[in-house]
Amino acid sequence: MPTDIEHGDNLARLAARHQERLAESLVTLENRIVDLMANAPLQDGNLFDLEWAISARNEIRQLVDAEYLPQIDSILREYPEVAAGAESMLKTYGSFTQIDPKIITQLQTLEFQGFQDIGAEYVDAIAKEVYQNTLTGRSFADSVNTIKQVAGGEMARYAKQQVHDSLMQFDAAINVSIGKEAGAKKWKYVGSLIETSRPFCREHEGEVMDDEKIEQLWGTSWAGKAAGDPFIVRGGYNCGHRFRPVFDEEADTEEETVEAVAEPEATIPSGAPKLLDKKVALSQISSFASKANKRVAEASDPTGYIAKNPDYFPVRFTPYAMKRKDNLIDLGNDQFGKIIDKGMSAETLSLLDSGLKEIEGISKKFKTPKIRGVVPAGGKRTTMAMGDGMLSVNGSYWNPIAKQAYVPRDKLLESTKASRLALNKADEYYETIQEEYQSAMDAIFVKFPNYRNDQSYRGTPEWALLQQKSVQMADAGKAADKARKKWVKDRKLSEVEPTSAYVRGGNISDRPWSAKQYYSDPADKFKSTLFHEFGHTVHQEYWRQASAAGHYATPIERYLRQLFYVNGKKGARNKDLFFPTGYSEAKPVEWWAENFSLYNMGRKDLVDTKLLALMDEMVKSKGRIKVFDGWNFETGEYA
């Protein structure tokens, strides 16, 4: 038979599972609502059809009925087991009668009705947003985003909190009902303390109280306190405590120590190279790039970049920056050989320095020039990109990941804990202000019952208070959102991302999108991405004189197309190939780059057989290979 603490811990785990299940349903619901929006009639990309907007309400309701309520129903069907758990726990402390099954059914029905109300509010909120966006002719993309905010924001958060509170309140009701049936007059306030436990719960944890003391305590107030029967609402929203009935013999003797929830063990990532001072890292990388920016007129020399004109380095690609009317030839010449470290932290530069050193060796093995310059991604979303030997790195993406590689995990966990506490405080303040706002609203309803038709309440002190609370509520909501974002960010930093265990021939649904997901070490993720980018330099520069002579694709790129597509023509992919990641299916050069990254990260088991043979041959060959698999790599055609 479980103790009260064990029973509480079981419930906490069950509540977390229920929240996860509901969260999944809400994500599906949100996606289905977005799909519904995809059918909205548009005029110049904007919503306009009010008739459609009105009919959408019915469809939204059907989606809620299909995705949200069945999940709630499934969750509530587990409640009888909770009741059985409570009965079993109480037997640890004495002889109690069993709960009447009718009471369980009634409680389930009441809880379901509460969730139905939330669902109805959800439908109202979304339908209103759809209608308003249509009325104002908002653009489709903006509308989808605002609707996603409504669907996945406040309402979803409220529903998830209710799933927790519903379970705890059900358990509390069972405990108290059985206790009162047995004639209990004293109650012990029990539950595990966690870092976010309220001061109220910390103060009274383990305390035995009689009815009078409980009534007296509930006459006071504390942050996050919920309205209702103290035996049911207990410490308030998200509270995991309960009142367990006790009798005199136990109350006199029982002394239990409650331990705080243990924190996960701290670990420091092991694969990171030595952390360098930013200036040292920059100096080392700059020297590397300067040496790598070697121009040669001799096309077959594998160590340098090919120049069509002795004075200029070529810029090969259709330049998107043409829009800026930049002279790209001059710009290229100006940037080649330089490192612009804007936005990159010392941690990112340290990983980059180490990665570029490894690339020095790989470039020799693959007879390809080294990376000859680094620029910031400059406000773009790409994490890294490559072209003409120039690497761009997105500091704002990589800095937090690089930090993970150097900051001990216990420090990251401490930050997460601190931001969780700050979030808790912000949420509690928001709840308090919401309650005060509601009270101010109620005061107006009471004093001005005819407020709908008569606006005499305006200008009164009650109205002023409501206005003040409205402003405070908006500010508190924003502060809570900000605190939540910080906590989410910190939590993400302190989490260890699971590594993909996908293997050749495994279930395709387990396959990761990108090669970096085969590693959990943040330093390895960086290196894997860097190697992917250098893979692009290899297909862009290997035997490049063909493109220098006017062809767009290099011989190796033309070979990759032959392999990648059926009959070598753009269209269906060749099914005989192995695609180690989702991204490797996107294009022949991404297939190459993903495989190249895995090859150089030591995961040859995940490299396509044909590419593995080609890469082995490129490494083994003294110079660049001329013919392989019947393909002439110098001219770019079948030999």
Binding site: V315, F317, T383, M390, G582, A586
Partner: protein, 54 residues
């Protein structure tokens, strides 16, 4: 993978790429769910390879 993500992948496979490819990807990026956003960033990488180097 959501329909938005699949559509964005198809967009990056067009040849030649549309002039406003980055802006179009930005639109899709906003639409894909949070759990797909990190993967989605690779589509910018694919485009950068051909369209905007420096």
């Amino acid at each position: 993978m959501t329909k938005f993500f699949k559509d964005a992948v198809k967009l990056t496979q067009k040849s030649p790429l549309p002039d406003d490819i980055v802006e179009q990807l930005d639109g899709y990026y906003k639409l894909v769910p949070e759990e797909e956003k990190d993967d989605f960033l690779w589509l910018y990488e694919a485009v950068e390879l051909e369209a905007n180097l420096i």
